[in-house]
Symmetry: C2
Subunit: 233 residues, 2 copies
C-alpha cells in the first residue's frame, strides 16, 4: 500500500529522467540494427553478437536492454510491425494523393492503389517480414510472436482499404473476392520477384489485375461475376 506510492514516485522519475531517453534511443538503435541484419544477412544467420556489432554497442549493453535473444526478437518483430504499417500507409498515400482522390475516376484510383501496394511489397521491410513468416513455420516461438502481428496487420490493411475505397466496402462478398485476388496475386508476384527477378511481367500483371478489379465491380451490378463461378459444382 505504502509501497505503491513509493513506486509511483519512482515511475515518475523513470519518465522524466534523462537517461531514460538515452536508454530508449539505444533501444531503437539496437532494434534498427536487428532489422538491418534481417534484411542483409537474413533471419537465420542473425546472431545477437552481429546485432550488437551493427548497433555499435557492447553485448553487455544489449543484454541489459534485452535479457534474452527471444525478447530481443520479440521486440524487433513489434518494431517491424510498426514500420510496416507506416510504410504501407506511406506507399498508398503517395500513390493516391488524398487531395485529388475524389476527382479521379474509380479505375485510375484503383490502378494507383495497386501500384502503391506493389511498392510496399517490393520493399526490403516486406522481404524481411516474409522471411520471418517462413522461418516461423518451424519455429514455434517465432510463430507465436508473429501470429499476433499478422492478425493485427491484416486487420489494419482491411481497414485502410475500406477507408480508401468506401464504395467497395458495401459490396460484401464481391469486396472480399476483390481483396483476396489482389492480395494473393500481388503477393505471388512479390515472392516470385524475391526468388528470381521477373520485372517485365510484373507491370503487365498489374495492368491486367487493375482491369479485372474494375470488371468485378461493374459486372457485379449485373450479377455476372461472382454468381457465375460460385454456381459451378
Amino acid at each position: 500500500m505504502a509501497e505503491s506510492a513509493d513506486k509511483g514516485t519512482k515511475k515518475a522519475r523513470d519518465r522524466t529522467g534523462w537517461q531514460a531517453q538515452k536508454s530508449a534511443m539505444t533501444r531503437d538503435t539496437i532494434l534498427d540494427a536487428a532489422l538491418d541484419c534481417f534484411i542483409t544477412i537474413g533471419y537465420a544467420s542473425t546472431t545477437t553478437a552481429k546485432i550488437a556489432d551493427k548497433a555499435k554497442v557492447s553485448r553487455g549493453a544489449m543484454l541489459h536492454h534485452f535479457p534474452s535473444k527471444t525478447e530481443l526478437i520479440q521486440a524487433a518483430v513489434e518494431y517491424l510491425h510498426g514500420k510496416l504499417l507506416y510504410l504501407y500507409a506511406k506507399c498508398i498515400d503517395e500513390a493516391i494523393d488524398d487531395e485529388e482522390a475524389h476527382s479521379l475516376p474509380v479505375d485510375e484510383r484503383n490502378r494507383r492503389g495497386l501500384q502503391g501496394y506493389w511498392n510496399y511489397l517490393s520493399s526490403d521491410l516486406f522481404t524481411a517480414y516474409h522471411e520471418l513468416c517462413v522461418a516461423g513455420r518451424t519455429d514455434p516461438e517465432l510463430q507465436y510472436i508473429l501470429e499476433d502481428s499478422i492478425a493485427r496487420f491484416d486487420e489494419n490493411v482491411a481497414q485502410s482499404s475500406k477507408r480508401l475505397f468506401p464504395e467497395w466496402a458495401k459490396r460484401g462478398e464481391l469486396y472480399e473476392l476483390a481483396m483476396d485476388i489482389s492480395q494473393f496475386l500481388m503477393q505471388g508476384m512479390a515472392v516470385s520477384q524475391i526468388v528470381s527477378q521477373k520485372d517485365a511481367r510484373v507491370s503487365r500483371m498489374i495492368d491486367y489485375l487493375s482491369d479485372r478489379l474494375e470488371e468485378i465491380f461493374h459486372a457485379g451490378d449485373q450479377d455476372a461475376a461472382i454468381h457465375r463461378h460460385s454456381s459451378r459444382k
Copy 2:
C-alpha cells in the same frame, strides 16, 4: 596413357560391384533424411548431425558419401529437384486423366489442371523448396545451387503445360499472360497458406481464376483482353 586403360577397368568394376549398389542405397537414404529435415525442422536448423541421425547412419559414413555440408546440400537440392518434377507430373496427371482428356471441354480441363497445380503447391516438398529459395536470398552458395534448378524446373513446367494444352501454346503473348497469372496467383495462395491457413478462400479463388483463363482465350479471338490493357500508358 596406360593409366587411362586401367581406370577404364576400374570404372567398370564400380558399376558391377555389389557394394556400389549398397552405397547408392545409403546415399539415397541420406538424401531422403535431408529432405525430411528440411520439411520437419526447416533448412535453417538442419545440421549434418541431424540428417545423419534421421538416416540412421554415423556421421563418419555420411562424411564418406558427402565430404562437406555444401556437397550434401547440393546433392539434396538436386534430389529434391527430381522429386518435384515427378510430383508435378503426378499431380497434373491425376487431375487430368489422359484417357478422357480430349473428350473433356476446354474449361473443365482447365479447372482440373489448376486443381492439380494447387495440389502440387500444397505439398510438403514445395513448401521445403520455397523455404530453400527464401534462404537462398542471403546465402550466395545456396543461391548458386538453386539457380540452375529453378531455371530447369520452370522450363520443364512450361513444356508440360504446352503438352497438356496444345491449343494454348499457339496464342503467343496471350499464353504467357495466362501462365503468369496462373503461376503468380496460385503461388501467392500457396505462400499465404503456408503463413496462415485460409482454406475457405482458396477454392473460390480457383473457380474465379478458371473463369478468367477461359475468358482470356475466348476474348483473345476478339482482341479484347491483352490489347485492352497493354494499350494503357
